[in-house]
Amino acid sequence: MSRLDALGLDELRERQRATDLEILTMGITFTVYSDGENIDRAWPFDIVPRLIAGSEWERVEIGLKQRLRALNMFIDDLYNDRRIIADGVFPAGLLEDSENYRPECEGISPKFGVWAHISGSDLVRGGDGEFYVLEDNLRVPSGVSYVIENRGVAKRVFPELFERQRVRPVDAYTDELNKMLASIAPDGRSRPQIAVLTPGIFNSAYFEHSFLAQRMGAALVEGADLTVGDDDCVYMRTIHGLERVDVIYRRIDDLFIDPEVFREDSMLGVPGLMRSWKAGNVGIANAPGAGVADDKCVYAWVPDMVRYYLGEEPLIKNVPTYRCMYDDEREYVLAHLDELVMKPANESGGYGIVIGDRASPDELAHVRGAIEADPRNWVAQPILQLSTAPTLVDEGLEPRHLDLRPFVLTGANSYVTAGGLTRVALTKGSLIVNSSQGGGSKDTWIVDAVPAPDGAPSQSQSQSQSQSESQSQGAS
């Protein structure tokens, strides 16, 4: 960070202002729902990058690929043989109660046995400096477009820093996504037509849907643009008439994708889509039903899945998790509410989470009641001492808490983004990083040492800089 210090606070603020303006002009936005209106807001971006050493990142990459392989084998197993239940590794009761289990998907085996093709796992760096997985997002994780946009902006803000060190590029993601999606097209379709299925302009991630379609040269479609023919193939309505669609990257929750099978009041989906998918006439990513493993209770079993399916030790750890469905673990949670974070199993976006040491007695009493009423749907974790990084705020450069969401593609092969989306809580002491709740973002640099001219590695700047990311003292 010494180079940033050398610039001085005034220069940093000036660059931050110029950047905010650029983001506004380029129309990099996200949509928030507030006061009955959808507001298109400029993407919040803190110009100070977050640095992670390349050598450390390689271990994270391998760990994430391993984790997603196991999770996909788990989903495929649940919808087919259920070996993991028969072998007593995963409790049958948990599956029966799962909100995201789709009986309509039983007996299906998508190409490569992969269901969650695109995932975003949230990582945090704990008190010991290690990365932990906080949760897996296997349904329609968003944020990757901002990873790429943030980098584009950062290169213009700090061109001099990019000259001095090797920062791994992030641009290749959309090509990798394109290849992966093409690989799940029905057999025999050369040059498959790919479509990104969006719920439309009012969705909070519409910017991203549009961005991904642009970068892949894919069609950006809404439900009404698609129709399923008598031949059980999917078509889109174009000015040339109906054109076949081979692969759909759906950004709609699976309950809404096909009113014939799931919610019949859905206006967003395509009647017959499930029929077409089951017949093998269209590839869908992520596969309907993949969300069964995206559940904060199922999460607690992921390390067991890695051991069971792969015979390997998990390379990235879970945060220790108390499962309220078990009497002894629940009793511990209820006795230590003020020291734990309580999470409902199926909420996303940070909603419903209760942080014990910040909650009022009323809130604690309320969550106690909720856990007792529905123990299967609650887990609890120790309050993590999330790492912090210097962030430009009103007071100057100050430490703020952050997390990291790398994106993992799983098909015939696996791919992990170089870094991912770093989200930062802009309020002092806050642990809430969601952009819908006042969080910001940072560009994430995976930095490799640049060899010195004589061939010997120079003193690695990345090492010293990544240490500037530090632990907060105390849970505050």
Binding site: M26, S210, L220, D225, T238, I239, H240
Partner: protein
């Protein structure tokens, strides 16, 4: 390259809206100029302009002049769907849903303009601030065309953009002539307007046509000549004939265009058959109505064939 009908619809309308904003800006600029040259009195000198926006409201004068209410109505009225504020926003909203088919700079241009218009329109009513505002709208609209001209593949999406532009543009030329017809109608029967030349000059200027007209028709400005130029000179890109020629070249590059070609030929015929006498307000007005109707018919055929989804 495939083009969804829904996306075709949005591109076509985005083009119409930005052209509408640009045309309104151009007309407002030239109208301010001409009034400075005509020492007439009266409080309702500006109201005829609302017809350019396809409206017939009567706006109440403020401080003895209707300039501010009319300009506000055309530039910044949030309730008026064809105010520049709203047409620029409508263009942006349409393009926002088809970013994947346009060059990135195109979206950025209109997004940038929209941010500017939202921030500045309400304070751009007075004469001095107005000029900078209107110029920016005209320039950014042209910049948008420039980006597409140099950076966009000539696919169906591009042709639909051109169709939106030229249908709106042809329509606007007839509206400006219609407003001129209205001032002719206000003359007493057999009356002579000593400012006729200035008014015709303003008509030309509001269509960015003055210089090109003068090159085509050297000598003093002559009403019948101006009308001929703006309707029939197909070398001039804002004349109705010029717009129809551009429309033809785009329609020919679209698939399955029979019904649209049919309506285009009707519009061509309608234009050829109208020979209005430039000094007869009623005749000119009637002729412009008929040309507008044939353009509307062309739009309907286009919408039925390509834009329904």
């Amino acid at each position: 390259m495939v083009l969804l009908s829904r996306v075709a619809d949005r591109i076509y309308w985005a083009a119409r809206y930005i052209e509408r904003a640009e045309d309104a800006a151009r007309v407002l600029r030239s109208f301010g100029d001409v009034l400075a040259d005509i020492p007439t009195s009266g409080s309702a000198r500006w109201n005829s302009l609302v017809a350019v926006a396809g409206s017939d409201v009567e706006l109440e004068p403020e401080d003895g002049s209707d300039e501010r209410p009319v300009v506000r109505y055309l530039i910044a009225d949030p309730e008026h769907s064809n105010s520049i504020l709203n047409t620029v926003e409508a263009c942006r909203e349409n393009l926002r849903t088809c970013r994947e088919v346009l060059p990135r700079e195109a979206w950025q241009t209109v997004n940038d303009l929209s941010i500017y218009v939202r921030a500045t329109a309400p304070t751009s009513i007075g004469r001095r601030a107005r000029e900078a505002f209107l110029l920016r709208v005209v320039n950014d609209s042209r910049r948008l065309d420039g980006v597409l001209t140099v950076a966009m593949t000539r696919d169906a999406a591009y042709e639909l953009w051109r169709l939106g532009r030229y249908i709106e543009r042809g329509d606007m030329t007839t509206r400006v002539l219609g407003v001129r017809a209205a001032t002719l109608l206000q003359l007493p029967p057999g009356g002579h307007d000593e400012f006729a030349e200035v008014r015709w000059m303003s008509v030309l200027r509001s269509l960015s046509a003055l210089q090109m007209y003068q090159r085509a028709s050297p000598g003093p400005i002559d009403g019948p000549d101006v009308v001929r130029f703006l309707l029939f000179d197909h070398h001039f890109p804002r004349s109705v004939a010029g717009c129809l020629a551009e429309i033809r070249s785009s329609v020919l590059r679209l698939p399955g265009n029979e019904t649209v070609m049919h309506m285009l030929e009707r519009a061509d015929r309608e234009l050829k058959n109208c020979r209005p006498h430039a000094d007869d307000g009623a005749e000119l007005d009637d002729a412009m109505d008929r040309v507008q109707l044939s353009l509307a018919g062309l739009h309907d055929a286009l919408a039925a064939r390509y834009l329904r989804f």
